[in-house]
């Protein structure tokens, strides 16, 4: 598939230098061609979303359709804001995704700290239980979950979206790995000698050390919650409690007919995440590569 290593090795041998690192070979032009194609593939649908949300429907339904942005952005955006309570839905999504992200950062770090650095009976079996729960597809239990929410009287409320997502097995696993490698036992002993309680060790020493890993976890949780659809669709009823995804759904009248409005809503709902991504994209890439194991 790649020819780097086979070409790099003989060259290194003939010059008498030690063998080069296997994947530091010459980069062929077609490597860039394929990668640029993949960038195009990733970015084009978003660009198209932008094109449609800045044109009137005539421009995108002519033959051939325009592929350039137009000047209709504000007209469509205004229509989005008047058709559904879009601002409210953005606020709701921020509340839901923000609370989940914060809660996961705290609760998963706390549990990860216990599993990584504290001694207690049943620790290892309990950790295995945590790992097993990662494999349980809980999405299939939405009907009983709906009944629970109904009994709690939480139907059509934001806490029905927040509370079930406040802790995650993946988050615990992720934070445990980081704490285990970063927090050394000498530091913990020193803190204990100074009279720190376990809580103080967690809050003053452990958490600051893994702040950036916890931040990545928070980001992933935020993005997941922001984009969640099935559960909000089931549990939220009134438009003032819509998350932004439900607001887009409400804009989508009929399939294949006038998607300008829905596209504009989708674009407006994606902007906050795109802005976030510009600042923290590198961190997220590192997080995905580093965590590797996430469903």
């Amino acid at each position: 598939m790649t020819t780097h290593s086979s070409s790099a090795a003989p060259v290194a041998r003939s010059t008498g230098r030690p063998l080069k690192r296997a994947f530091a070979g010459r980069v062929r032009w077609w490597t860039y061609a394929f990668l640029i194609a993949s960038v195009f593939m990733s970015a084009f649908p978003l660009y198209w979303m932008f094109v449609v949300s800045t044109n009137d429907s005539a421009a995108v339904s002519q033959m051939p359709p325009t592929v350039l942005p137009g000047g209709n952005f504000f007209a469509l955006a205004e229509q989005v804001f008047t058709t559904v309570p879009f601002v409210q839905s953005l606020v709701n999504s921020f509340i839901v995704a923000g609370s989940i992200a914060l809660a996961q950062m705290v609760l998963c770090t706390l549990a990860g700290f216990a599993f990584a650095k504290l001694q207690f009976r049943g620790r290892d079996p309990l950790f295995i239980v945590v790992l097993i729960t990662m494999m349980v597809p809980t999405q299939l239990a939405v009907i009983p979950l709906y009944m629970i929410m109904s009994n709690l009287d939480w139907i059509d409320s934001l806490q029905a979206l927040i509370v079930p997502g406040m802790a995650s097995a993946f988050g615990i696993f992720w934070m445990r790995q980081h704490l285990a490698s970063v927090l050394n036992n000498e530091l913990m002993q020193a803190a204990r000698i100074d009279g720190c309680s376990t809580w103080q060790i967690y809050w003053r020493i452990a958490f600051p050390l893994v702040r950036s890993a916890a931040f990545v976890l928070g980001l992933l949780a935020f993005v997941t919650a922001w984009n969640d659809f099935l559960w909000p669709l089931i549990v939220i009823q009134s438009p003032e409690n819509y998350t932004v995804q439900l607001a887009i759904k409400a804009l989508q009248r009929q399939y294949f007919v006038d998607y300008g409005l829905a596209m504009s809503g989708s674009f407006l709902a994606t902007i906050p995440l795109l802005i976030l991504f510009i600042f923290v994209g590198r961190k997220m890439v590192a997080g995905v590569m580093d965590g590797a194991f996430k469903g």
Binding site: L35, L118, P137, I148, A167, M289, D290
Partner: protein, 328 residues
């Protein structure tokens, strides 16, 4: 997997050290005792929130699904115990088998090309001399932050019958426009494309991380033995990636069998996945029965079946991938 290596041996040492410092610390006795009692209890307090939340919102609903499936359960009308009747009806229901076929077709069409593409791109990215490496990695993750709802709406437009960009493109080559939503296979291709688009970059990064973890001397040894690039890929890369490949296949299976949002939005305002149910998946069928027709029992029977399928397929994947890629 990569991360867990270094700290393995440390916890026992900390335990003994802790006991030591406890007894040696020159502090007032009462304070130590209360503090240590708190500390003995602390770990359980720290892990309790997860277990409590999981018990209430994860485990209980999952177990309860099996129970509800044994009832004719209407949220307004009440419930009657009917044993396995829901399952008997379900397995004789043509709509169920239709949804099953659709789900598997979409799952295979989205997973196989996606993982092959991810493997290929990861291989391209795995070169320290590559320029703009960060830019490539970052753009690949952009689809992942785009919601499924937004993704579906964009792709529905791109795949549009009359004015869709893809059909306009096909027309350039004299190919007739395809009504993607109306045709069973074409609609599966459309849904699979959406899934592929959202996840290929994510999987690429996972594979890339695994590729970077392969020790370079393995390749050097293979090169000295005369293995070319392709042979190295087959005999070094693939076996080394085995655990990660198994992982991504299992995750894609769990996700693929639960595809829901795309067919729902495409069949909007209905829940049937097209006029002829041509792209209704099992998850959408469950939603239609549970929250469209308010048959909670029947819907739960679908949920239980889906659950069993996911468990079985995860196991099969695991065993198969182990057999196929094992290097003897």
């Amino acid at each position: 997997m990569v991360l867990s290596a270094p700290p393995r041996s440390t916890p026992p040492r900390s335990a003994s050290a802790r006991r030591l410092t406890k007894s040696a610390a020159p502090k007032p006795r009462r304070r130590i005792r209360s503090a240590s009692r708190m500390d003995a209890f602390a770990p359980y307090m720290y892990i309790a929130p997860f277990f409590a939340l999981f018990a209430v919102f994860g485990l209980f609903p999952t177990v309860f699904t099996f129970y509800v499936a044994l009832f004719d359960w209407n949220p307004i009308g009440g419930q009657t115990f009917i044993g396995f009747e829901n399952f008997v009806t379900l397995y004789g229901d043509e709509r169920f088998w239709n949804a099953m076929r659709n789900t598997f077709s979409i799952w295979i069409l989205s997973t196989v090309p996606q993982l092959l593409l991810a493997l290929f791109l990861a291989q391209l990215l795995n070169n320290v001399r590559l320029k703009f490496a960060n830019l490539f990695r970052m753009t690949m993750l952009v689809p992942y932050i785009t919601s499924v709802v937004a993704t579906t709406i964009v792709f529905a437009s791109l795949f549009g019958r009359d004015y869709g960009l893809i059909n306009s493109f096909l027309n350039l080559f004299g190919i007739e426009s395809i009504d993607f939503a109306a045709n069973t296979f074409a609609s599966h291709v459309m849904v699979s494309t959406m899934v592929l688009w959202r996840w290929f970059g994510y999987n690429t990064l996972i594979y890339l991380a695994a590729l970077q973890a392969i020790p370079k001397d393995v390749y050097e040894a293979a090169a000295i033995d005369g293995a070319g690039g392709f042979k190295q890929f087959i005999f070094v890369t693939i076996p080394s990636l085995r655990p990660v490949i198994i992982f991504t296949v299992i995750v894609s299976t769990i996700g693929g069998l639960q595809i829901f949002t795309e067919p729902l939005l495409l069949s909007s305002p209905g829940l049937t996945g097209g006029a002829g149910r041509q792209f209704q998946t099992l998850s959408l069928f469950m939603y239609e029965q549970g929250f469209g027709d308010f048959k909670f029992g029947y819907g739960s029977a679908i949920g239980v079946t889906l659950f069993a399928l996911i468990v079985v397929f995860s196991l099969i994947n695991y065993l198969l991938s182990r057999r196929i890629t094992s290097d003897e």
